[in-house]
Subunit: 537 residues, 2 copies
């Protein structure tokens, strides 16, 4: 009966000991500062229009590190500094072009894949369609790829988007988020995932050995949207063969023409650059100091790094700007909180939450590494949460709450309580002043995929807000149109004031937010399951 | 009481004298040929992937003229020939690029505007945002445009697409199309429209005089879709200043940066070419000869010309392929119709239905030109339908019916009866075998915007089919993703067999389809209306 599920279930029905009444006068001051003198859209516009894409360790990210640090300092925050962690190479696109030159001239919409090398000037080569997604597919194309641009994605059919691209949550949809998810645990899953991680390296080695001049993937989205995501960023681990992601419509046309022959000839030029001068990535930290002598603090964070195709607007300039705006609002109000309020802008999120993981490892809790296990690239991400035991760092007890923003620019509609039933009534009370702004859902379920998860995984009360989806998932997430003009100003101001209010409540509460039991290795595994053969392939 | 509306109302309640029972065995043979041995997707794939965009008088359109003529001949159709009409210059894009080079390098998604001249090599210039849409706006920017790339569109906000991009008609929606529209007639409307037509020329002259190096418009659609439509195609009327349409996200970013200054610098290269060797455009005509000694014929048509950004797939390679497939099916069946069945592939539709207009003028009916009125460019389109009287050509009585396809690749759901109530019960009968394929709506209303309208305007029973909208209007119409992979094969085969069946019914009917009264100048004008001051501006 020591399963995590059972323990969580008890916590769910505990009384809300930590509930605090909200200081409505403070909320009024937050609303005044955050709605009448908002800077949030100026902040996100600078990050996006002026700085642009912020791939970790790229020049754009470096510029963003400097600019946000100086902003925090200008606003009067204390302890503003960078915290470095081992990452890998930077990379950026100076310019790139892709054209079909035969059988007829046509501009292709395409983008270099992150961390692939430059082409040797302007190259021109026939394409070959060689769909490969596993190592066993290589044999089919051996001896056929020399001098070719290799199209490695299997073409699909055109999409039929039957749902609106832009939407807000209905009350029904919000209610459906409030479902308790029992923990699932499969201790071997991450090992299986890690086995697949080196496929990209193997494909690169195969293409290099075969003499391919470049490879191309098909955009996973229709409509001329491209992304350019690539995952081999470690120092010494980047690819040898230039790669390009081609818009789905253009890729499918190339594939059809190649099938009918003669193979189309494509002209590619990727003028891209690696940056090796500093392989450390940096999180940006700044504080509004608290009076509590224990060093207790609460924290808000958002990742500042982005992908390469757009300007990193809804993912996640929006979150960064709301976190910074909450800092500005509270600082402008001159708050003197009991607990320190810390603001964090993470790096390396898109490569596996690496910035927040580094913070957790250094300040909160360490997890034992399995001997011999890989600790580079995405393996770091997949491996980390499954290492046991967890060892508290000296600062473990000081972090009282962490709030994350990384769901685009949609207004805050509520918060995921991460299975921590004891915080539900407290958060309900904290949302009370914002019900008329659309925020009042406290959903018990966990959510993943962003920087609260490693805090939560070591037992810190760490939460991600629920935001209206807008067109985040449908067309903006990691795409070439993740730009400032798809950010909603009213929503951004609303999110910033709610975050500011939550931080102030958490910082000044008599009692810190209730914690879940300290995590031990869970044992809820399905004893009847056979491994998926695809996972073993 | 001689108004057109009253006459139409009488016709609505006339008995369906022309009703014919459908030969179900013929329908079975059409389905067999059109579904088991379909060529329709091969046809449209050649037009789109291989030939690509087909701007009237461009090399692509010339290739399409030759290829479709040879196809008709290969299939055994008779009288396959081209019919020329005065059009203007051809134009095509060899290659083009647009980049912001300062304050940071970023690839812009952009396309040269049709019929604008090439840039003088690769040009690099600061942008200026100078929103102009009427001549009176020029004064505001006089003296400021020299050496600049002029952004002439007023930037808007990012879109919030709340409807599904892809959809089929529900039964309710189809029912709503069956509404009788009383005629509206405003004899001065076309004059007012024509007055505005020369705005493009005036803008061009202003930009040239001011020394602008290029101008840019903003794409009317979000999401990196571009179109490149331009309307100054007449010989001697094309523009002097290079023009480019920039994707909305990229345009808005330039505009925001320019507002904050310093002005972004953009590098443009439009390698485009005019074709002056033959300023005639050509309609493609082919027949399955009938036995009727009167020379009576029925006809199906679709415009083959396209815009420049995509491959002219749903607009209107799809319609062309269905018309050609109907020809192939009927020819393969060896039909010997009573009336000749004629197939027409029009040019110049995108410039104002100019190909079908030329056919009507030459073969069906002429309309008197108003002395001194313009007869070039879009003025030809706006002016034509308002010229009176109409004079029948010798062939007027021979054309018994015209069917048009130009609503994308969505399946046929019905037909617009163009206010001709007498054909409604006949078409209902003709659709009877196809109800289980989704086609059974006969909507009394008129529809416009494509090549049946000038036939209809002179009293020919001329009709456009109702097709499922799919993503035609939302994202494909005239855009860079109007490509083969957004065409639906099942729908295309369905459309082709229905068209073939309608043509055979119309060709073999004992009585020709009932006609509306011969058009005379209508006088249904609102006696209480004041002219819209915007129209007089």
């Amino acid at each position: 009966m020591r399963t995590a599920a059972a323990i969580v279930a008890l916590a769910l029905f505990a009384s809300p000991l930590g509930a605090q009444s909200v200081d409505r006068a403070e909320v009024g001051r937050i609303l005044d500062e955050g709605l009448n003198r908002s800077e949030v859209m100026r902040t996100v516009q600078h990050l996006t229009d002026h700085i642009g894409p912020r791939l970790t360790n790229s020049p754009g990210m470096r510029a963003a590190e400097d600019w946000t640090l100086s902003k925090f300092r200008d606003w009067g925050l204390k302890n503003a500094h960078k915290e470095g962690f081992d990452f890998g190479r930077g990379w950026w696109i100076e310019r790139a072009s892709a054209r079909m030159v035969s059988p007829r001239p046509i501009a292709l919409t395409a983008i270099p894949i992150a961390w692939t090398p430059a082409t040797a000037g302007k190259i021109s080569a026939p394409v070959i369609v060689a769909p490969m997604s596993e190592e066993r597919h290589f044999a089919r194309y051996r001896g056929q790829l020399a001098g070719k641009i290799v199209l490695v994605t299997l073409p699909n059919d055109g999409s039929e988007p039957g749902d609106p691209a832009f939407r807000r949550y209905s009350g029904d949809e919000l209610a459906k988020l409030d479902v308790y998810d029992q923990p699932k645990y499969d201790p071997e899953a991450s090992d299986r995932r890690m086995k697949r991680l080196d496929y990209s390296s193997k494909l690169d080695a195969f293409l290099k050995a075969e003499g391919a001049v470049a490879y191309a993937t098909m955009s996973p989205r229709d409509g001329k949207l491209v992304h350019g995501a690539g995952y081999l960023f470690g120092a010494g681990e980047t690819q040898q063969v230039p790669g390009v992601e081609i818009a789905a419509e253009d890729y499918r046309r190339l594939a059809r023409l190649a099938k009918q022959g003669p193979a189309p000839v494509v002209e590619l030029e990727n003028v891209v650059h690696f940056v090796d001068t500093d392989t450390k990535a940096y999180n940006i930290i700044a504080d509004i100091p608290g009076s509590d002598p224990s060093g207790a603090y609460v924290m808000a964070g958002a990742h500042m790094d982005s992908w390469v195709a757009g300007d990193g607007a809804v993912d996640n300039g929006a979150g960064v700007a709301m976190v910074m705006e909450a800092a500005r609002i509270l600082q402008a109000m001159g708050v003197k909180p009991k607990r320190t309020i810390r603001f964090a802008l993470w790096a390396g999120e898109e490569q596996g939450l690496l910035g927040s993981m580094a913070y957790v490892e250094q300040h909160i809790a360490a997890r034992q590494r399995k001997p011999g296990s890989a600790d580079t690239g995405l393996a770091r991400f997949y491996g980390w949460a499954n290492r046991w035991p967890i060892t508290r760092q000296p600062g473990y007890g000081q972090l009282a709450a962490y709030f994350n923003l990384d769901n685009g620019s949609g207004k805050v509609r509520g918060i995921y309580a991460e299975g921590n039933g004891a915080v539900v009534p407290i958060f309900r009370e904290w949302f009370a002043p914002f019900g008329s702004m659309g925020a009042n859902t406290v959903a018990i379920r966990k959510t993943g995929g962003t920087d609260h998860v490693f805090f939560s995984a070591v037992g810190i009360p760490a939460f991600q807000f629920i935001q209206d989806p807008l067109d985040y998932g449908s067309r903006l997430h990691h795409t070439s149109i993740d730009t400032f003009d798809h950010i909603k100003a009213d929503d951004m101001r609303q999110g910033a004031v709610i975050l500011a209010s939550f931080l102030l409540n958490a910082a000044n509460a008599d009692k810190a937010l209730p914690r879940m039991p300290f995590p031990t290795e869970p044992n809820v595994t399905d004893p009847f399951a056979y491994p998926n053969p695809d996972d073993l392939d």
